[in-house]
């Protein structure tokens, strides 16, 4: 970024010392690019993000200490990061207002905390650190860079091979990354300059001439007057004096708007801005810039004069037409100039190949994302992902729209805790996080070979702009004939300015134009970039308004388009903020008339269709927590419940989809029960449509945390279809939802009995191999529940379930491990299964999971070991390992108590009767740990531990001696305290 910053960024000319970045579109674009780079750094290069800079980047921040979240020690005026370099120096230190940051990780987090002031912070940082690269990498790298840019990388690489230092390897990676950024910025600014900002004498002259034509006395004119300050025009078309032309200035004009004082404006190649005005004597001009730079004269005047802006909008079409046409004539010259600039930059461009490839790769990813990603998969994924990310919790914590209380009753104690944490993280449920990383725009490159569609679409957009209603409708219909599912066409419409026009048409009175425009928007909004553009152009509030239209077909199209656009958080928020949720819920109310006249008009459609489109949009919107609430408050649940009674799959899928999405909320689960929705969900499990079955199963999965709901599923006969759906394993999405529903339903014993009748347990065992993790988590979870019953444990063992379960103990998916350990633990209660587990080395695997970094896995493994303790008869090696495992587990959390509760203490005491000293030692150590808990002491005492331990105190093994004595001492101390309490 060094080169880009010094050469491309526009610094204020005000002398030396601290110079500031000017507020120009180009600078803003550069800053935004830098921000994107830094923000993504933490995720893209986690290792390099921890690298501590040679020198901190230091600037005055506007951030308050209160803005920092967890991971920081915050006082009133200072903030210190917990993250520190190897010398113990914090990587972020804020002493109001001075901030020092020493790693990309911390920079990235800071930007996150800064939220809306990102741009300001980045600007302040760049301004205060004119040579950031030197500070980041240390001076030597930068010197090399300055001397010979091209060979710099070689030199550095060379250095690495020589001194093999891991830190300098990181340094080089960072140097390479910064280099890439630099190139990217240079390219970006070149594009920016060539595309947007460059004005030339010709275009300026045209603008002024045109404005003159619309100026004069009278209310309809745009200005009172507009005049050059100088009548002399140089041969190059400039009127500025030669020494100012060097600065890129073209001419100066005096403008008198209707509602403001005379403005003195400088027109320069970089844009148009107000200058210091005419000085009183001799009519000299004060050339200093006094305000922002605008891209052209019209934009500036619109900003400065309300009357201009108003009258201009009346003349707009005429004006822009003329402007356009004159531009076309004049375009030849500047293009040549640009080509020259580009040639100069050609040595830069060949190196940017790499980067271009990256962009292309990004594009491919983007197209992939186009595929529907609404359903369970994202839910399950997100949950798993979030479990993995648990330790990053604090960072995500800030993204919550609102923290949700966790409501997951009926789960075993140890596991529940973890889920609570995970649920907190998933504020916006399911796929919310999926699309939230807003991808950068990829505009089609100006000089790239454009497909013929591009030019045809450009022409059509021209007719849209300059045509009356008839021409507009023809152009819209013709545009509709392009393959709008194709990204080329989608982006072409945007790149020629079509989106603006299409959205403008939505605000006209003409219903036909609105319909035509929405038909196109509906198609192209499948593209994630277009969605964002539509939101940025303010399209959503307009579409939300159309939901009130008296024409049903318009309502439908608007709702369908909203359904496509509201696939990311900002859009969903916009829909809600503009009252869209209430209006969409109102659409659901339409579907009740069963007898309707056949429609004849273009503007009519069936009520059912309106309700369907409403449900479709609500489905998209329901991925945000706040929207779920809004839907409920608008009375959506009873309406959805009523629509569930229909038998049209088209209607049922979005309705069940919405319910399934919302069932993450306790409110909804209660309402689903109250509105007797379970019955319909069960009914539709029998439908022929796989997607519908999937969503119904998913909704049951979410709701069956509740005991009554589980009973309802059984009473309405839902268990049998669930069990039979297990036999179709091709559709993995559906299989995951079905196994999830079975898992939750099997928390109730009565349901398990049914499942056994339907031979579901055998089928579940069959699904333990060759299934994706999303399915496995649920299958194993269900087996874990079933195996609480002796009879089912036998079934699982007899159909060979133990082996695949033990095999899964070596996985890394934490959600899966939690369930697997639980299932294995449940099986271990049965001695015969225990033998198999032991033979398969399962105990060791469980034991090794005690070292798993994730607390829930640890807890679940410890729990699973308890039955093993009881059943590990006559195998001293196993007993020893188990005892060792227990003493380790005791150090963590409330496991001491848990072991007591799960009745591990008494069998453990019996281990002391073994003949193996190793078993004695391990057991005594474990008992010593357990004896920290009073209840355990009592159990030990009752089981005769004291006498056995007393014998061990005399052992020659010192460790055993020590542990036995410690344990006796704990028991004794408790006894004394009890006695004391009794007699005092």
């Amino acid at each position: 970024m060094g080169v880009a910053l010094t050469r491309s960024a526009q610094w204020t000319a005000a002398g030396r010392g601290t110079r500031n970045l000017e507020t120009t579109p180009l600078n803003e674009a550069i800053l935004k690019e830098i921000i994107t780079f830094v923000e993504s750094f933490l995720y893209k290069h986690p290792q390099e993000a921890n690298y501590a800079f040679a020198e901190p980047l230091e600037w005055k921040t506007e951030l308050e200490p209160a803005a920092f979240g967890s991971g920081y020690a915050v006082s009133e005026t200072t903030v210190t990061s917990e993250e520190a370099d190897k010398n113990g120096q914090p990587l972020l230190f804020l002493s109001v207002p001075q901030i020092k940051i020493r790693s990309f990780g911390q920079l990235s987090r800071l930007l996150f905390f800064a939220k809306n002031t990102k741009l300001k912070e980045a600007q302040a940082c760049i301004e205060a650190n004119r040579n950031p690269i030197a500070k980041i990498l240390g001076l030597d790298y930068n010197i090399i860079n300055e001397i010979n840019e091209d060979s710099a990388l070689l030199t550095i690489l060379d250095k690495i091979t020589r001194d093999n230092d891991p830190e300098s390897e990181t340094k080089v990676k960072i140097a390479l990354l910064l280099k890439q950024l630099d190139l990217h910025l240079l390219n970006h600014s070149l594009k920016h300059i060539s595309l947007e900002i460059r004005l030339n004498p010709g275009t300026v002259k045209n603008d002024i001439e045109l404005l003159k034509r619309f100026s004069g006395k009278g209310e309809q004119t745009v200005l009172e007057s507009i005049d050059y300050t100088s009548d002399y025009e140089f041969s190059n078309g400039c009127r500025a004096p030669p020494w100012r032309q060097i600065q890129g200035e073209i001419c100066y004009v005096l403008v008198k708007p209707h509602d403001a004082e005379i403005l003195c404006v400088t027109c320069s190649k970089e844009g148009v801005f107000l200058n210091g005005g005419k000085t009183d004597d001799e009519g000299e001009i004060n050339y200093e810039r006094k305000g922002e730079i605008y891209k052209d004269l019209v934009t500036l005047l619109k900003e400065k004069s309300a009357v201009f802006s108003e009258n201009m909008s009346k003349q707009e079409v005429r004006f822009s037409e003329e402007q356009q046409k004159e531009k076309e004539q004049l375009n030849e010259v500047p293009k040549e100039e640009e080509a020259a600039t580009l040639r100069k930059a050609s040595d830069v461009s060949h190196r940017s190949m790499l980067e271009k490839n990256q962009i292309n790769r990004g594009k491919n990813l983007m197209t992939k994302r186009l595929e529907p990603s609404l359903n369970w998969k994202t839910t399950v994924d997100a949950k798993v992902k979030h479990l993995l990310r648990d330790n990053l919790e604090e960072k995500h914590g800030g993204r919550l729209e609102k923290p949700r209380p966790s409501v997951l009753p009926g789960r075993p104690q140890l596991i529940r805790k973890s889920i609570e944490k995970a649920e907190e993280v998933i504020s916006e449920s399911s796929s919310e996080s999926e699309e939230d990383e807003e991808p950068p725009d990829h505009r089609q490159e100006a000089n790239a070979d454009l497909p013929s569609e591009y030019w045809q679409i450009q022409k059509l957009v021209k007719y849209l702009k300059g045509g009356n209603q008839t021409a507009t409708v023809i152009a819209l219909c013709s545009m509709k004939d392009f393959n709008l599912a194709q990204e080329t066409c989608q982006l072409a419409i945007r790149d020629v300015g079509g989106l603006e026009v299409l959205i403008n048409l939505l605000e006209t009175d003409d219903v036909k134009c609105k319909i035509g425009s929405l038909k196109i928007l509906k198609e192209i909004s499948h593209n994630p970039q277009i969605r964002r553009n539509i939101v940025d152009l303010g399209g959503l509030p307009i579409m939300v308004n159309i939901l009130d239209s008296p024409h049903k077909s318009l309502k439908c199209l608007a709702a369908e388009t909203i359904a496509n656009v509201a696939k990311f958080r900002r859009a969903r928020q916009a829909v809600r903020r503009h009252g869209g949720i209430t209006k969409l819920v109102a659409l659901l109310d339409c579907g009740q008339n069963s007898t309707e006249p056949a429609y004849s008009s273009l503007y009519e459609t069936r009520d059912v269709e309106v309700a369907r489109c409403g449900a479709l949009a609500l489905w998209s919107c329901s991925k945000s927590y706040a929207n779920k609430e809004a839907i409920r408050k608008a009375g959506g649940i009873p309406l959805l419940a009523r629509l569930l009674k229909t038998s049209h799959e088209n209607m049922l899928i979005p309705v069940v989809g919405t319910l399934q999405e919302c069932a993450s909320e306790e409110n909804y689960r209660a309402a689903i029960k109250a509105e007797r929705i379970i019955e319909d969900l069960v009914k539709n499990l029998n439908s022929g449509n796989e997607q519908l079955q999937e969503h119904c199963a998913m909704a049951i999965y979410q709701c069956a945390e509740d005991e009554e709901t589980r009973d309802l599923v059984r009473l309405h006969g839902g268990l049998q279809p669930l069990a039979s759906l297990l036999n179709n394993t091709d559709n993995k999405e559906r299989l995951a939802a079905v196994t999830g529903a079975i898992w939750k339903c099997s928390i109730s014993k009565e349901n398990v009995i049914k499942f056994r009748e339907y031979k579901a347990i055998e089928t579940l065992v069959g699904l333990l191999t060759d299934q994706p993790e999303e399915v496995l988590v649920n299958v194993v979870g269900a087996l874990g529940e079933c195996c609480q019953e002796h009879e089912n444990r036998v079934v699982v063992r007899k159909c060979g379930g133990i082996q695949p379960l033990v095999n899964l103990l070596v996985g890394i998916n934490q959600a899966l491990l939690v369930n697997v350990t639980k299932a294995v633990g449940a099986c271990a209660v049965e001695p015969e299964s225990m033998m198999i587990i032991d033979r398969l080395d399962g105990v060791r695997l469980l034991w090794s999971l005690l070292k798993n970094p994730h607390p829930d896995v640890k807890a679940s493994a410890a729990w699973a070991l308890c039955p093993c303790i009881q059943n590990a008869k006559n195998n001293d090696k196993l007993r020893r390992h188990l005892a060792e495992a227990i003493s380790r587990c005791c150090m963590w959390g409330r496991n001491r108590v848990a072991f007591g509760e799960y009745k591990a203490v008494a069998p453990l005491v019996r281990y002391l009767k073994s003949s193996d000293t190793n078993v004695h030692r391990a057991t005594a150590q474990a008992l010593y740990q357990l004896s920290e808990n009073a209840d355990n002491c009592i159990t030990m005492h009752e089981n005769g531990a004291v006498k056995l331990l007393l014998d061990m105190v005399g052992s020659p093994d010192e460790a055993l001696q020590e542990a036995a004595a410690g344990c006796i001492s704990n028991i004794r101390r408790l006894a004394l305290a009890t006695e004391k309490a009794r007699y005092s």
């Binding site: 079409v317 008839t470 409708v473 035509g516 503007y603």
Partner: protein, 212 residues
């Protein structure tokens, strides 16, 4: 007109034009004589609304502006081609105009667009109807270039049998696929808003109308 005659006329027209009920037909007859009334005083017996009177209704009530289209709409109403819209032509015309089925409207619109009545909408007719639909760009060598292009686009879209002109079959197929093309060459049906206003006003007060 006496009450008995009016009743008889109403009944026969209600039978002919299936989209209005007797009350509505009565209202429309009332409106018709109301409109013709002014003219009658000046000229004595008049067969109906002449071109100008009819055009002013289209313009004032239905917001139409295109002279050519309005002429064509008049021709569409004036079935017997006598230069006047009679009371039965008025009621039957409005029946399609306001309440027609898609089939009736397609037939009506095609007749409006088929300027010379030869059963085809030719390229020249298309050009004629679209010539004012785009902003002129005097700078261009041929200021009509945009319109010519638009005509090509329209033909490409609608001319199914590629004979360079639109037959009713072409037109019908295109409209069925894309109903927005019903009024492809200019608005010749009321827009929903003015239609609603018109109906609300005319079919409003039974007492007031029956007095006429």
């Amino acid at each position: 007109m006496n009450r008995k005659k009016l009743q008889k006329l109403t009944e026969s027209l209600t039978k002919d034009c299936k989209h209005f009920n007797q009350f509505e037909v009565k209202c429309l007859i009332g409106l018709f004589y109301n409109l013709v009334g002014d003219v009658t005083e000046r000229q004595g017996a008049v067969p109906g609304l002449d071109r100008d009177a009819f055009r002013s209704v289209l313009h004032v009530t239905f917001g139409m502006t295109d002279d050519m289209i309005m002429d064509r709409v008049f021709r569409g109403f004036d079935k017997d081609n006598d230069g006047f819209v009679s009371v039965s032509e008025w009621v039957c015309g409005l029946s399609v105009f306001l309440r027609g089925t898609l089939e009736e409207k397609m037939k009506y619109c095609f007749e409006v667009f088929d300027l010379n009545g030869d059963g085809f909408i030719s390229k020249e007719e298309t050009f004629h109807m679209l010539k004012d639909s785009l902003l002129r760009q005097p700078s261009e060598e041929d200021p009509d270039e945009g319109v010519k292009d638009l005509v090509e686009i329209t033909l490409k879209k609608m001319d199914r049998d590629h004979d360079g002109k639109l037959s009713f079959t072409d037109y019908e197929a295109a409209v069925r696929e894309q109903p927005l093309l019903l009024e492809a060459f200019g608005p010749c049906l009321p827009d929903p808003k003015s239609q609603k206003e018109f109906e609300a006003q005319v079919f409003k007060d039974p007492n007031e109308v029956s007095e006429v």
